[in-house]
Structures are given as C-alpha cells and as structure tokens.
Symmetry: C2
Subunit: 346 residues, 2 copies
C-alpha cells in the first residue's frame, strides 16, 4: 500500500507557512489571522487532511483508547456489555480495542500485555474462568493503569468493579412466583463454591421468609443441577414424580430452565398453569417461542456503560485527585414473558 497521508507539514509547505501555524489554525487558536486560518482549513479540506492520532497519542502520552478483555465475544451477555462500553466510549471520544481471552489464562496474560503496550488509557476486564493468578493485572495496576472489572471480578485488586445483584435478582424471581400464587417452588441450585450460587439461594430463601413460606429441603436440588440441560431435565422429572411435587421452579440458568421445561412438557404439564418456571437467563430465553417463562436478565448493556463510565472517570481524573475505587452493584431486570416488562431498570 502506498502511504498517502497528508500531514501538517504538507499543508505548511504548500502554503509557505510554518507547521506550528498550521497546527494552531487547525485547532482554531485565537492568535492566528482569519486569512491564514481560512487558507489552512480550506486546504486541509481540499486535501482531506486527517490528523494523525498516533502522533498525538505519543505527544500527549494518551491514546484515547480503552481496552476490553472478555472471555468470549460470541455470547449475548458479553456482546451486550461491549455494546454498552462502546456507547459510552464513543460519546467520550475513546476507541475500543477488544481482546477475547477465550477463557484461557495464558491468552489473557498476552492480551493484557498487548493492551499495555498499546498504551490504552485504561482496561475493562471480565476474567477468564481459568484465571487464579492475578500478577498480570497487578503489575500494570501498580504502574497506575486504570482498570475496572465487571461481572467476573478480581477480589485482590483494589479497583472499581461492576457486578450484578444476584441476591436481589433471585429475590425478585421468587417473589414473582409467590405473588403469582405458586405454592411449592423448587430450586435447582448451582455449584456451592460459587458466590453467585450462594447469593441466589439466599435471595430465594429471603423471599420465602418474607412471605412466610417454609423452606422445604426436599424442593432443593443441590449439586450439578445446572451443569447441563440433560441433568436438569432428569432432576426435574424426578421432582415432578415425587409424592409432593413442586408447582414452580426457580432455575439458576438457561440450561436449568430448558431442562425443567422439557421435563414438564414430557409429563404433559401446562406451562405456566400447572408448572411455572422462572430464573436467570442470558440470550436464549428472549427468543423462546414459549413466552411463559419469567426471567431475570443480566443488565449487560448497563454494566458495560457503568464500567466504562467508572474507567473514564478515573482516566480523566486530575493528577492529584484520588479516585476511591467503587463497587457498583446493578439490579437485574425481571422480565415476564407474555406480558410487558414488570420491573425494568433500563
């Protein structure tokens, strides 16, 4: 490719003036005569001058670029987050470099390094599933690189974070089912070591408590319930065939809900009349042909926006200003299918 970039120098030479004057004219500096200004802008227009942001970045040691590291792009939640990030970044004059770790620690380390080399002004991160060592983040954080974690956050780094209120989401879902008149709400639990699992379970319990429902251990399926649609289906079927079956189900994720739905259908139960399903979900449900499922949507777009805002705030803070890291907890949106939005925060 022939490198045909028009530079300030070209304009200067053409007009027989110095490049500093051109520079000033271009940015409408007061101390430059109207004639020169006009001549410069006209020529710039004519030759289609495009300022070189690379040079600017070097000069200012600021690239007006932010980096994003996510586990995968092809995922409704994450692509929604990127979209939110892009929204805020664009309006604040930043470009967005996207790197996907593919859930690989090694790749994440490389991505981090690459973004640091690129001198992005800050980094937004959702960690890979593999990541347990945080040195690659810590080393650049020590150097003062602004960073904000979202969704999959790193506890050991003292920076801003954006997460979802799993407790409240679970509470909302359960309350919704109770308010709809369901009596026996089963729960397909997630892995017990995950914080989100615990929080969701707590939200479920809290709703039961608040509505004076007894907690019934026989309605709780612990273990690998939500690992796959298959297991969820089997476990639900077992529950449905028990002597005192549930009339509703809290599903911890898409797989759990899909499995539960299939089990119910096979048993000939009408959804949601005989058996209601509600729970956490990502993309899958929004396109489901069966509108009978109420879901808590992760507010991905908002999460991206919030994370980007926090990051940019930190990037643009004055030298001496100290930004206190802040963890923002976003409410989920309860979406009732087959009717309008019940409790949307968007």
């Amino acid at each position: 490719m022939k490198n045909n970039h028009v530079t300030i120098k070209h304009l200067a030479r053409e007009l027989g003036i110095s490049s500093s004057t051109v520079s000033r004219a271009l940015k409408d500096h007061p101390n430059v005569s109207p004639e020169t200004k006009k001549a410069v802008t006209d020529l710039a227009e004519k030759l289609n001058y495009l300022p070189n942001s690379i040079a600017l970045s070097l000069r200012r040691s600021k690239s007006n670029t932010i980096g994003v590291i996510i586990p995968e792009i092809v995922h409704f939640f994450f692509s929604t987050v990127i979209s939110g990030i892009e929204d805020i970044a664009y309006n604040a004059g930043y470009s967005v470099i996207v790197a996907q770790s593919n859930e690989s620690y090694e790749r994440e380390v490389m991505d981090t390094r690459a973004l640091a080399n690129h001198r992005v002004d800050g980094i937004l991160i959702s960690m890979s599933r593999e990541t347990t060592d945080y040195e690659h983040f810590e080393s650049i954080h020590r150097r003062g690189m602004p960073m904000v974690f979202f969704d999959r956050v790193c506890d050991t780094i003292n920076c801003s974070k954006v997460i979802v209120d799993d407790f409240d989401g679970a509470f909302q879902v359960t309350r919704h089912l109770i308010q709809q008149g369901y009596k026996r709400i089963a729960y397909l639990a997630g892995p017990e070591n995950l914080i989100i699992s615990k929080q969701r379970m707590d939200g479920y319990c809290m709703a039961l408590e608040q509505y004076n429902r007894a907690f019934d251990e026989s309605l709780i399926v612990r273990g690998r319930a939500a690992d796959s649609e298959e297991t969820a289906k089997e476990l639900t079927a077992k529950l449905l065939n028990s002597p005192n079956p549930p009339d509703a189900m809290f599903a911890i994720n898409d797989r759990a809900a899909l499995g539960a739905m299939k089990a119910a259908k096979e048993k000939g139960l009408k959804i949601p009349q005989d058996f209601a399903i509600a729970g956490f979900s990502n993309w899958e449900f929004t396109s489901m042909t069966d509108p009978a499922i109420t879901t808590v949507d992760q507010p991905g777009f908002k999460m991206g926006q919030e994370a980007a805002k926090l990051l940019i705030r930190e990037i643009e803070a004055e030298e001496d200003e100290t930004i206190i890291p802040e963890t923002r907890i976003l409410k989920t949106d309860l979406i009732v299918r087959g009717s309008s939005l019940v409790n949307g925060h968007l």
Copy 2:
C-alpha cells in the same frame, strides 16, 4: 493517574549506556555483546519494561491495528464475525478496534474517520442499512487504505469482499425438504429489490427444477412476508387454510420461520411430520426448543476469518506488489436439528 512508564531511556540511563544499544539488546540484535544483552534484558525484566507500541507505530507508520465497522455488536452473526476476525488478527499480531454504526449512516462516517485518524492498517466493513453514499469509504480507499467488505458489501468500491452463497444455501434447504419427501414447499419471499432475496428464490427454483417439481406460484408468498413474525404467521395461516395447502415451508429468515411455526402449531399440525419448516437463520434457532427445524447458518466465524485474512494479505503486500481484489463466496452450513450436522463446512 501517574504515568509510570519505563522507557528505553530509563534503562539506558540506569545502565550508563546509550538507548540505541538498549534497543538493539532488546531485540536480540547480533551486534551487541552478550554481557550488555543480559544486563539490559535483566533490568527490563526487573523494571517490567513494556515497549511503547504507539512510538513504534509512529516510527514505522504502521499501527498493527485493524478497524472493524459493523452495524451492531449485539447480534449473533456479527459477534461471530468479530470473533473470527479477532482470531486471525491475534495470530497475525494485530489488535482489533471495534466500532458499531448502530445502522446509522452518520455514525458510520464518523467511525470511518476515527479509524483513519487512528491510522489503522486496514478496515473491515459491513455497511449500515442506511448507507447509500459511499464517499466516506471511497476517499480513504483512494488514499490506499486497505479495506474489505463483508456481508453488507459496497458494489462501487473495487476491493475484496466476502459474502455468503445465498443461492446455494437456498438450494440446499429446498433439496433437503424434497429429499425428506415433502411435496408442496411454500416460500415466504423477501423484498424483491434485495439481491439476496432473488438469489434465494433462484436457489429454491433450481432445486425444484433439478428434482422435476413444478413451480407453483400459489405456494409463493411475495411482499412483506418476512418483515415480522406476525405477518409471517398470518400469511402462513392463510396458506394452510387454502384448498391445496403446502406440507413444508422455506423460510427466508428467523421471523418468517417463527411465524410459520406458530401458525402451524395453532392449526394443530405436527412439526415436522405434518408440516416441515426449513430456512435461513441466525442465532435464534440454535437455541430453539423445537429441534424440528432445519436451518442454513451464516458462516459468521469463517466470514470474519476470511475477511481478516484478505485484509492482512493486502496490508502486508509489498509496495510494488499489486493485489487483485477478490470476492470470496462462502458456502452456508445446512444444519438439521434433532440429528447431527448434515453438511457442515466448518
């Protein structure tokens, strides 16, 4: 933020040598003594030196960055494309800047300009729906900016393109239905002015012809059939209530297929026994609970890969080398639900 970047100068000063020596040592230049080399790399390691790609970009007038402009990120097809782009880019040492036009012409123009300013080495584009004027692309293309269009391509610009073989996809779908034994295959057509609509219709006709089926105009629904799920449903219902109803349906997109499915279900038809549906789709179907629908998937990942490869090839071509623009037509993947992949090209 305090700007704590270690530079070559720092290393040089610390070691009492010149920065050029440091530079050479860092890149393992032959003409530098082993001792110096070791001293330099050790110190670089210790101080966690990270090369400044911005400075490098300026020096080399090459940013090792490619820009992507897409209508929206939150879309299975497009996010898949990005993923494919990222895959190739990463392995070739390029970063990816993503800009979404949000289907807005104005925004697309701004994005193009921003990427040009950023001195990306090339741009990958899928045009916004609004775009009918191409000057923003042409002006940078004239300057020699490598660019490749994908999916929503621009005909007036002489550069490489990657598109999907709609004709073949439609042919495959129709043939599949015929081979499954369906006799009367209805067709909900797309807008007649779109090239893809025509090509898909041609593929449909070709399959009929090849299997000696008569083309029956009464099975074709022209017009706004695929505009919304609602209209698709109504139109399908009408067909199903006609004296000589179809036993299968070619759906031009997700909406058409969903509408058709609902109409069939309301009429109590079993899918796919009484009424089969097959057609083009994006994400929606892959998560459908009803496995009875055969779809042609747009090969998004591959499209991203191919587009990125074409772009990088052009970027890295020698000065004097002339790259002949090339339009790559990708085959679609016929995916039969409820069974394994029948004709996958991945």
